[in-house]
Amino acid sequence: MQKYEAPIKDIEYLINSVFKINNYSNLDRFKKINPEITTMILEEASKFTQNVLLPLNQSGDSEGCKFEEGDVKTPDGFKEAYNTFIKGGWSSLTFDEEFGGQGLPTIIGVIVSEMIVSTNMAFGMYPGLTQGAYKAIEKIGNSEQKKLYLPKFSDGKWTGTMNLTEAHCGTDLGLIKTKAEPCPDGSYLITGSKIFISAGEHDLSENIVHLVLARLPDAPTGIKGISLFIVPKFLSNDNGELTDKNNVKCLSIENKMGIKASSTCEMKYESATGYLLGEKNKGMKAMFIMMNEARLGVGIQGLGMSEVAYQSAAEYTKDRLQGRSLNSPVNPELPADPIIVHPDVRRMLLSVKSFNESARALSIWIALNIDIAEHHPDSDTKKNASEFLALMTPIAKAFLTDTSFENVNLALQCYGGHGYIRDHGMEQFVRDTRITQLYEGTSGIQALDLVGRKLPQDMGRLLRQFFHPVDKFIKENISDKDISDIIMPLAKSFARLQQASAWVAENGMSNPNEAAGASSDYLKLFGIVTLGYMWAMMAKTSLSKLNEKDSDKQFHQDKINLSKFYMNKILPETSSLLSKITAGSKTLMSIESSNF
């Protein structure tokens, strides 16, 4: 059974005790919140997601979207849920007040996103894509564009999309064929076909604003000749009143594995009116500006799915009676014990749980840096935060989603054969989660971004943004006896990460295949160590809390135990990854392509 209760206590622990967001009250956006307000926001978000979105998750999956003569109908209840969503102001949580938003910190946005994903990932796609479009226009739009589109996105009356992919190109966007012809009035005529466009057509909003990558007639070939255009479904006057239907059509929607309630559309532009967003031929750069947040958003999808799958599994393993505890029966009066007594079931549950809590810590850490990078008054602090984000983005995207897919499978496994039966909702989690490893750049592409772009940048400068704080933390705590069984394993795996980084840098220099061949293992190693660092921070926080008078001892003891589980049962994987990395790429490349 799909079960979800927003992990509010864990969230409060992370933001108040581990990351101490009180320390950031010098940032404007943080002035608006305090622990009391934050709790109210989280509770209201949990009410909405649990009571409105979760009940539509399985029905939305079985119904799917329906395509009828160019229109797309979302599943029953989605429109009402969307209206409740926008009425509550949730569509504009982190948008600027100037444009009708709530102006809250990214941290709050990230936390609420996780709840939305956990309860209904497909629903979350619609506002998720809108947020991407908002950010793009906010960062590179001119003032008229901002004035027209941003308030409409804020109140949720209009939604947005990202049109990158074409049938012959997904990863390699330099191959894009969609054309843009300049018109005398400064607008453009867009012609071409796009596929796989999420939220490309639907019935939730009165207008849909497509951001479309296309090529100008005189553009250089390849990736340097791509520009970005705003192409609305309905044209409007300057006040945002709709005028004519634009020449944009949805030709069909995909029949796909998961997130069935999210429409995935084939779009056709036939001399559609478009407006240049940002500079000519700088479309990819524009896209990359908002990529950090969009990719973190997909990482959060991984986390959200892993969380709901865990909760649903944990509940089941406490009720399902099979076999006896190997020590002594815990339920002698019943015919069998609940399966949660079995070590192997615990292995599965704890693998997922220890990931969820540390991945949440990571996402909050990243979100905090987004706020710092955007709003901090000090330019050095700002720059450091941006570098940290550039480094961590591919890791958050690929590691959180790859591990999440393993996790939802483990959660299904806890149900035995019943996990394979649709009614229980576990197989939906597996199907829904799978897409996160693919869109916004596949996991393989994230790994290449990490070793090919982020590692070498400024001679490894970005690495420092992670290595320095971890190194400092280890040095400060290594001699503390109370925590040495947590810090020692972290220190060892951190050394492996440093060794792997040196290996990739050195060998990748002489032969790029070495870096590329090691990239996925390297990213995973990096991810595992990062979550190890998160667990060490939590263990340290909880240890000091244990000594406080009114603290919740059980809560903090559990955190320390879970931290030890992670150090003992997950972190050792770094050894095998290091071996795989340093074995090199020779065996990958030695078989001729024709012999496959």
Binding site: E5, I8, K9, K32, E36, I37, T39, M40, I41, E43, E44, K47, F48, V52, T84, K87, G88, G89, W90, L93, Q102, L104, E333, L334, P335, D552, Q554, F555
Partner: protein, 249 residues
Amino acid sequence: MKVLVAVKRVVDYNVKVRVKSDNTGIELTNVKMSMNPFDEIAVEEAIRLKEANKVSEIIIVSIGPKQSQETIRTALAMGADRGILIETESEIQPLSVAKLLKEVCDQEKPELVILGKQAIDDDANQTGQMLSALLNWSQGTFASKLEIEEDKLLVTREIDGGLETLKLTMPSIITTDLRLNEPRYASLPNIMKAKKKPIEEKKPEDFGIDISPRLTTLKVIEPPKREAGVMLESIPQLVDKLKNEAKVI
């Protein structure tokens, strides 16, 4: 016209409560608390009256521990105007609550008080009725519909076997039933606004009311566990058991 709404902080309705090991009550440490669901309906009804311009001000009162402030804040985020917290850490029973609310009514002079018909922690279902007696005001309990007609209240009540509609002369006490309305979700802008709305803090002593309990709880225990069932071989065996063991047929 002013409306007073009384709200109570109780164990969240989703929580599976556990009895304390010493049988003195329910385990409350680290348990999620929220507004009594019937009180949420009371708040919602008051807000709807205000939106229909029948009411000018909504005052929220809560009696309980310091954290009841959060419960008041939730009502303010839904749309109420200001709050009064009467803070006490001791156990407080319906009669004391009614007496305190009477004092508040004497000061604030509302024309309407809306309460939940009961709180889901003790299910007493007494406070509204007692308050009505203490104030000598009309009462409409278990309301499933409420209308204001000039200076009269039309209250539809859920009673055994049907609905009853009363016409009340104000000032009145209303207690809410589940079907009265569906409470709204607080919107983000309203949550932010609620931060600035005033909450007055008082103590029971400020009203000179003795809140010491009149009833003593002897012990609290779990309901008996359901015994595991037995599988029967045949229908005749079932009939036999129903006749001779259960003696129901």
